[in-house]
């Protein structure tokens, strides 16, 4: 980033006024806001792909039709399925962590006991 960029003025990002909370469970308001921001970005990416298809078509390459007609070979099928499974593993990270903790008999009490134990002089 060059100096001129750093010196540029910046707009105010937050509206003055305490934000109301809608849910009784702490954290859900923040989580819902994050979900909607992600939904917005997903929509942006979908728009961009649509633009890519349209620009390609205008240049004589019908990507959209090509995508619809594409026949997936064995390599492609495997690559996609692996990607989907990997994605879902990341998506369910906390649930899987929970199962792993159960398998290893890790508990909150044990966690605190460890901290306490290691801190002992």
């Amino acid at each position: 980033m060059d100096n001129t960029t750093q010196e540029r003025p910046h707009v105010i990002r937050h509206a003055k006024g305490k934000r109301p909370e809608f849910y009784e469970t702490p954290g859900v308001d923040a989580a819902m806001s994050m979900i909607m921001v992600l939904a917005s970005e997903l929509s942006v990416v979908r728009d961009r792909l649509d633009s890519a298809e349209r620009v390609a078509k205008a240049s004589g390459l019908d990507l959209a039709a090509g995508i619809e007609a594409l026949e997936l070979d064995q390599d492609a099928l495997e690559e996609r399925e692996a990607r989907r499974q990997d994605f879902m593993q990341r998506l369910f990270y906390l649930q899987l962590k929970d199962a792993d903790e159960a398998a290893q008999s890790q508990t909150a009490e044990g966690f605190e006991a460890t901290i306490h134990e290691i801190a002992q002089p």
Binding site: R8, H10, A15, G17, S33
Partner: protein, 409 residues
């Protein structure tokens, strides 16, 4: 009916990259979805489990909007609805704010260059203090409010408002965001064809959306737009110039303008009153009366009073007070506007409410997305609380100053 309304470009409107434009479209679509699809669900939710819960706890049914609110806020469907509304509003401003931030110095230079071409005056007094009711909270959650300046000759919040309010209204007010002003002018032309105002004052004009139709349709008139936001009037002046209209703009408080008595034939405001305060609103009426010539008209286009609606409708509308930083939204609807006008000096029989039909049909096929069908769809809806813009038309308060009233004072 799919809403594909698109804002018309003009020289000082901030531009958007492809991704910024997509974020903005998403915010607009989300607002549309909430109003068309989530909002209707509130009625059955209220009529069944929520009113039953109230009755069980209180031994009676809810009677007013406060009763309804006291139980609705604990219902999960309502919580999701209210969260969605608030989040859509935040996404909307953020989607525009990022693009304004990216091009701010260039926008300021462009605004200066355009303003220099205008024959209209731009008046920004030294040391102007905006009133507390616009600075205490950022109204409708617009970061920075109307008055903040982050740099010299700033126009940032003006640009933010111009693009943001288009998304907020989902294009219902036309490609230039000017449906309210245009509708009032149409109303005057149709109902009072002999009324030809020579000097027109638009109070609380922000970036001049509603101001410009007055100049366009009364080209001989001297038109003034005033607002407490410096960046707003600067942007307004440049925007008008960019659209080829010489209109005067000034940073001024509508409670106490610097105009002399009886300078104007027509004093108007559009969605101003609900952003003032209990103390300021009567003063705005008094000031309008003072600067009007005998025989002149005062017209305020704003929110209809609560007494015209059932409690559930009131409750839905009042959500803006609680969740969108609109502190005066609910209270304003309880003000007796006829009474205020009378106290300002207007004869009671010369004050009335009427409906100015939406001008949106005039945009049909005139701009991208405004097909005949889509425009008709907006114009012919029934009024639904929680949707933007009434079907049919805008509620206007009209008061005529008596010919001899100035002498009686």
């Amino acid at each position: 009916m799919l809403n594909t309304f698109q804002q018309a470009a003009h020289p000082v409107l901030p531009t958007a990259t492809a991704d910024e434009a997509s974020r903005q479209e998403f915010a607009k679509s989300f607002k549309g979805f909430i109003q068309s699809t989530l909002l209707p669900g509130l009625t059955p939710i209220y009529e069944t489990r929520v009113s039953r819960a109230f009755e069980k706890a209180n031994g009676r049914l809810p009677e007013n909007r406060r009763d309804i609110r006291s139980v609705m806020i604990h219902d999960l469907y309502f919580q999701h609805y209210a969260m969605a509304n608030r989040t859509a509003q935040e996404l909307l401003w953020e989607s525009v704010n990022g693009s304004v931030d990216r091009q701010l110095p260039e926008l300021i230079e462009k605004a200066k260059a355009l303003s220099a071409t205008s024959k209209g005056e731009l008046r920004i007094p030294e040391g102007f203090e905006p009133p507390r009711y616009v600075t205490a909270l950022d109204i409708h959650c617009m970061p920075g409010g109307y008055c903040s300046e982050v740099t010299e000759d700033d126009v940032a919040v003006g640009a933010l408002y111009d693009r943001g309010v288009y998304l907020y209204s989902m294009g219902y007010t036309g490609p230039n965001n000017d449906d309210m002003g245009r509708s009032v002018v149409n109303y005057l032309k149709r109902n009072m064809p002999d009324f030809k105002p020579k000097r027109i004052l638009d109070m609380g004009c922000t970036v001049g959306h509603s101001t410009l139709p007055y100049k366009e349709l009364f080209p001989e008139a001297e038109v003034w737009g005033i607002d407490v936001g410096g960046p707003c009037v600067r942007y307004a002046h440049a925007r008008a110039a960019g659209m080829g209209l010489d209109v005067n703009f000034a940073q001024m408080n509508a409670e106490e303008t610097t105009f002399a008595d009886e300078e104007f034939d027509l004093v108007v405001s559009h969605i101003l009153l609900h952003e003032t305060s209990g103390k300021a609103m009567p003063r705005v009426f008094n000031e309008a009366f003072r600067v009007l010539k005998p025989g002149g008209l005062m017209i305020h286009a704003d929110l209809p009073p609560f007494d015209l609606m059932d409690p559930f409708t009131q409750f839905i509308l009042d959500n803006e007070t609680w969740y969108n930083n609109e502190p005066f939204w609910g209270a304003m609807r309880e003000m007796d506007q006829i009474d205020l006008a009378e106290k300002a000096g207007f004869d009671r029989e010369a004050v009335r409410f009427d409906t100015a039909p939406m001008a949106v049909m005039e945009f049909a096929a005139a701009a991208s997305g405004y097909s005949q069908d889509a425009s008709e769809h907006v114009a012919e809806r029934d009024f639904t609380a929680g949707e933007f813009a009434p079907g049919g038309g805008w509620e206007v308060l009209i008061a005529k100053k008596g010919e001899k009233q100035a002498l009686a004072a």
